[in-house]
Every structure is written in structure tokens, then in C-alpha cells.
Symmetry: C2
């Protein structure tokens, strides 16, 4: 089903059942795409389930779809958990969310670090953005967008993962290039600090939990650039190994 | 001179001479940073020359700086030439320019491909954006921003470079993962196609000139995301080897 238009449905996909798409999706189908009863489409639930469906009725505010075949996409063998201190600039945060989703991260955890700026957490808007990036990049697994966490919470949540990294810019502290550390791996977590960097006590806490300190290169990267560089590199290293 | 504020000067930097910074920079120094006569700063010309200077006079529209020491930053051993079909969405283009500069590419060449959308080329605005990203990421070499070129012009311009790649999504055509092809290298060029991808005849032309076809991963990436993923990966591979 490669050429069918893709849509998201936040609910269970069951063969032969009829689902009602949300208002915004219905409007898009009716007004922009001008699809109508009988047209086929592709629905994902963001949890790997994918259905081919046929429109039963399409109106401006309501679109009903009969699901035919439901299949489960294969889960990626390699998953990256991105933990990143969001910036005070909301458009940078949104860009980060879009790009991390395109690059297929497993989860995004906003970190509240000592030097973090106040972040306006826009859950609903951000989830829409993730959905849109998911559909655009033709993936079936939505990244988990976590609530904001302290570093103490992050290290506990991801402590069980073997491949754990913290990227920081404290040049007096030993760091290894990320490219040297990162090997094809089943599950990896990386922490990216705020604009003013992690404080040493934060790096130290992470190291106590087994996070390895890394550098992402010679340039001084903005937070969101560093995060995306790390995601891109993870993909390149693991590419073709799914 | 790590902690001095950084500014750009589009001209020759000569020891003991006095330069006059442009209006916008003067205003920023006077109004935002509130710097005054006697304060030290760091000036780069974007060509690797770096000067420490002292403010002689700072007013809203004019700032004169006496240059003390001028040094030449070491040139990077590894350079990436990014040739990319810009999108019709200007904010995506601007984001691409900012991030490519942060990631230290040697040059950016907008490609006019068969399936390119009409692009509004905003030379002056884009150069300002490059300057700002250069200063922010603490680099001394400005990427060369080329005029828009056809693919025929691009392959001729970069034909002499040994490591040449074209990223495309035509799944029926053989492609190698970029991560497998890319080795630490002195000079590399990569072509990234428009939203609708390169046409086969375009890929074919590039291959005739020795460009190797590559894929950037399993996700379907937007043009600007693909470009930045390639830059990030190039950096990771070459990192620490300068």
C-alpha cells in the first residue's frame, strides 16, 4: 500500500469496524484532498498498527472509514531515546520535535536542568506536530513524548539501558567523540544539555549512573542542532541493520 | 581569547588599523551589549582571519575598533560541499542555512532540479543568517553561498573532487547507505534532491560524472532534514581529526 494517503487515528484499529476520524483530519480529507466515499486510505495508530480503509462518508466535519486489513509493522531493532533540555525559543523546540520524529527516535524527554530556561510546555500542539511529522516521514511508530523530568528522574528512568551517553561542553572534563563510542546497538539513550550546558554536578550524577561523557564535534552547536546531529548519526550507524 | 564577544567584519583585518563596524553591529554593541570605548572584542572576517580589537568609540550608528593582534585560524582539514534543492517554504530554507553553517560546511549550493519548486533567492537576508550562525557557533570560516545552479553546472563545478555522492530515493535504483560509503576524507560533496526527488536522468548524469548514489536511511526525510543529517554524519566521521 505504498501510494495511499496516510492518516492518524488515536484508537484501536480492528478489521471490518468503522472508525470516525477527528475533525481536523476529516476537514483535510474533504476540503484539501477532496476525497470521497469509496476512496482508499492508510491509517496508522502510531503504535505500529496499520490499516487500509475505505471512506464510507466524507463531510467537512466528519469522515467515517471502514477498515479492511490491519497489519502490524515490524518494530525497529534499534531505538534511540533522546533526552534534551528544551530552549526558551519555542520555534526551536518545535523544529527539534519535528526533526527528531522524522529521524525516528523512540522517545523524547524534555529535561529540566539547572541552567534550563523556563519552557512553556505545549503538550497538545506538540503532539499534533509529532503526528504530522510521523505521517510525512511515512512511519508507523510515534515517539513517546514524555513529561518534563529532572536529571535525577532521567537517570533512574533510563538507568537499565546499556548504551547511555551524556553530551556536554565542559572542555576540562574528559569526553570521547560520540562517533567513536556509538556502535550499532539495540537501545541507546543520549542526554543533550541546555544552552548554558550541563553543570558539572549534573554530568557527575549521570556518570555515577553509567552515562558516558561524549562530545558531538568541534563546532559549538545549539542545543537543538546537537540533538538532531546525534539522532542523524545514530540512524546512519544503524541504517540498513533493521 | 575565549570569552570576548564575537563580531563579523566584511573587509581586511590589519594590525593597528581602525575599522568601522556596520550599522547593525554598531547598534547591537551600543544598545544590547552596552559596550563602550576601551572594551575588547573579537572580530572575524569569515575567511579565517581573527582580530582582537578595542573599541575606540561606540555610538548608536557607528562603532570604531582599533585592531591589535590579527591571527589566521587553522583551516579545517575536512570540508563538505552541500548541494541541495531548496524548498518553496522559506523558513525551511533558512533553517537549513543556519544549521549547515553551525555544522561547519565549506559551501552551500542551491540546486535547481527538474522537480524543484520556485525558490525566492534572498541573498542579502541569507548572508546575514550565515553570519549570525557563524558567530554563534564560534567559527572563523564562513560557508560560501553559491548562486543557484543546474545539476549540469554542479557536476562540472565539483567534478574534480574524489568523494562525490548523490542521495536519492528511487528505490528501484541501487544505492549504498551513506554511512558505509563515507570515510574520513579531505573533501566531499553531496547532492540532496528536491521534495519530489531527483529524476532518474539527473541521477544518471551525476553518475556519469562519478557521483555515487547513496541512501540516508530508512525514514523518508524532508529535503532539509536529509541535508542536515548528511552534514552531521560527515562531522561525526571526521571529528577530532582536524
Amino acid at each position: 500500500m505504498p501510494n495511499l494517503a496516510r492518516f492518524y487515528f488515536n484508537g484501536k484499529l480492528i478489521e471490518n469496524e468503522t472508525i470516525t476520524l477527528d475533525d481536523a483530519t476529516a476537514k483535510h480529507i474533504w476540503q484539501v484532498l477532496r476525497m470521497e466515499a469509496g476512496d482508499e486510505l492508510r491509517i496508522t495508530d502510531g503504535k505500529g498498527n496499520v490499516a487500509v480503509g475505505t471512506i464510507r462518508s466524507a463531510e467537512r466535519h466528519r469522515c467515517d472509514v471502514v477498515l479492511q486489513q490491519v497489519t502490524l509493522s515490524e518494530h525497529k531493532q534499534h531505538s534511540l531515546h533522546l533526552c534534551v533540555a528544551f530552549t526558551k525559543n519555542n520555534s526551536r523546540n518545535e523544529w527539534l520535535l519535528e526533526k527528531a520524529t522524522e529521524l525516528g527516535v523512540a522517545s523524547i524527554t524534555p529535561i529540566s536542568a539547572a541552567r534550563s530556561e523556563k519552557v512553556h510546555f505545549r503538550q497538545e500542539r506538540w503532539e499534533k506536530l509529532l503526528t504530522s511529522a510521523l505521517l510525512q516521514s511515512q512511519q508507523d511508530y510515534m515517539p513517546e513524548l514524555s513529561d518534563m523530568m529532572t536529571i535525577a528522574e532521567v537517570v533512574k528512568k533510563f538507568g537499565h539501558i546499556k548504551d547511555k551517553y551524556i553530551a556536554h561542553c565542559i572542555s576540562e572534563q574528559p569526553r570521547t567523540p560520540f562517533a567513536e563510542m556509538l556502535k550499532p546497538s539495540s537501545e541507546t539513550v543520549i542526554l543533550i544539555g541546555p544552552e548554558g550546558d550541563f553543570r558539572f554536578d549534573e554530568v557527575s550524577l549521570c556518570m555515577d549512573y553509567g552515562f558516558k561523557p561524549v562530545t558531538l564535534g568541534n563546532q559549538r552547536l545549539r542545543t537543538e542542532t546537537a540533538a538532531i546531529a546525534a539522532c542523524a548519526h545514530f540512524n546512519m550507524i544503524n541504517d540498513g541493520k533493521d
